[in-house]
Amino acid sequence: MKTAIFTCVLALSGATAWAQDWPTLDARTRALGGAGVAFADGRGESMYWNPASLAVGAEKPFDFSTGFAFSLSTFVDVHATDNIASDVTKITDQYEFYNFQQVQADWESGNVTAADVQNVLKIVDNLNRLNDPGKGVLVGAGASFNLRVGPFGLFVNVLGNVGVSPVVDFSGVGFTSDPTFFNNVPPASGTPTAAEAGLSAQLQARAGLSATDADKLAFHAQQSLGDAAISDPAFVNAMVALSQGTGGSTNLYNNPSGVFVRGLAQAEIGISFALPLLPTLLDVGVSLKEIVSETSFRFISYAEQDSGDDIGETIREDLRDNRVRSTNFNFDLGARLMPLEWLTLSMAARNLIPMDITYKGPGKMHMDPQVRLGAMASALGFIKVGVDIDLLENESPVLPGYFTRQVGVGLEFDLPVFKIRVGYAKNLAFASDHGRLAAGLGFDLLGFVIDIGAQASLHEIEYQPATLDGTDSKETFFSDHVNAGITIGLNLPF
């Protein structure tokens, strides 16, 4: 829940951002599983997916008889990659329930109990589990305006994403700043298990602990977490790092782990043009655009969250202070081939100039080109089925380690007034992606269009684990990725 609160704080601060691979802006494409390149036609929003679509129906260059169109779309998208919301909430709950701040103070003064050691090792284990690349929360929102006049298009896309990713960093961190800590740890008892012995051996060999100290730590780890958890190499590495850092300046409570919030707001403003290279057979198009980007970031440590202070205002201020604006020129290309009456093949490439976006925070924000293939088949005059697939993988600039390579399939029943759409989308580049079902409706009367579309994965997510003190029970949400949008527009022939 705290993560959700932080995200809301960001949104309210105005640091909205966009950084998805190839975000779906319009409701029709959303309902068709994101297969926008395949279904791009003469509608206003189609130029976003494939600028060549501006030449659909053109018999010659500069053919204005193909019509006039405009569209206005807006959407929201929330995606928790892996069970990050629950994991982070569980950690903050453990900080509070185990009274970690007090435990740390006790350790600094030489008062170490077996229960405290075992509770703190649970926190260490949970922190460590967040260290997988790509874990995080992505929140996106945006709006789009497209105007088509014959083969020319004008567009303004304003999009935003906020990425919230966990950071686990035990470097230079110790259990306490008291170098005699290990002497105060209660002794081990009984015969060690194989996993326990293995952990002890690692602590002796890599952290230089004595056999007695290593045995004590391994014993409490085994009692707290069991054999499987303490055999995990990541956990072993964390224990080695913490043992090495004990007696140093940074104790465990003040470890620099937490969540890193990155925001990237972008506005694309540009023009598109399409040419019927071989009219009615092969169209090509280009979009030229100026992209104005605004980045921001804020790191929020677990200790800061646990402090009990109202940090909302601080976060807002920091995000404002960390803002940087930059401008990049870029362009998209597209081609559309109609070899058969019932078949359309398309290819579109977006943001062909790789962009390094100015960013004050650590690391960098980078956006690479994307190339997508689309194919659409029609039957009986009113059924259309299409598929899109990204040819490249993209890494999210706001959620490092989260890669995307989307595939989307859509089915449209193109009835005279009502349009019924269903689809499915999946990110092939992220192993924990659960796919998304898509659906939507369209209404088209005399060229006036209203579309609604939504996508949702059917993977239930635990966004609030049961609290350790029993005051709150587990709460779940039916989906780890939901989005919805609406488009209104007008499509008229001249």
């Binding site: 018999e59 010659k60 009219p279 009615t280 057979l281 009456e341 060229g447 022939p493």
Partner: protein, 182 residues
């Protein structure tokens, strides 16, 4: 906004005037004093655009994708013209009592679309299978008001196109001879 809403039906109807009407009745064979010409368009390409079909300067009908229509002509020489984004002509010499076939299609060329009006003549595979082709198409017939409106609106275009076909491009126009009918 209110005015815009009221204008929507008008705007929507601007680009799609009804050019032909669909008919179900079977066609009669040509009489002894006339020839029949069937114009069909079985190619899907440029499906949203009708092409005008003329006998010399007279607009006789519009060729729509997936349809055919017939025209009755006096025996003798005629110059048939197809007009749309481009133009094509056929030099015809018709015999009474016979039925002739013309196929309409368009071919994508670099930066332009070439319209074709192709006589279907004995020896061509299509000639033997013509009725199986036509049975898959819908029959249409012209709407007089649409013909008149088109002729008036495109008078200058048509005049220029026909003039060019009859002079510069005349020799390239295919021939529909009297023996090409059945």
């Amino acid at each position: 906004m209110k005015k815009l809403i009221l204008l929507l039906p008008l705007l929507a109807s601007c680009g799609s005037p009804r050019a032909m009407s669909w008919v179900e009745e079977p066609t009669e064979p040509p009489g002894t004093d006339q020839a029949r010409v069937i114009v069909f368009r079985d190619s899907f390409r440029n499906a949203t655009k009708p092409y005008a079909f003329l006998n010399d300067e007279e607009v006789l009908g519009f060729s729509l994708v997936g349809t055919w229509f017939e025209v009755r002509c006096t025996p003798g020489e005629h110059f048939f013209v197809l007009h749309g984004v481009g133009s094509a002509g056929v030099r015809a010499r018709l015999e009474a009592g016979k039925t002739y076939f013309l196929r309409v299609d368009s071919v994508p060329k670099l930066l332009h679309l070439e319209l074709r009006l192709t006589p279907i003549v004995p020896g061509m595979d299509e000639f033997e299978k013509i009725f199986s082709v036509l049975v898959d198409l819908d029959r249409t017939e012209p709407i007089d008001t649409a013909l008149a409106a088109y002729a008036e609106e495109h008078a200058e275009d048509l005049e220029a196109a026909i003039s060019r076909l009859k002079t510069d491009d005349y020799e390239q126009c295919p021939v529909l001879g009297p023996d090409a009918g059945r």
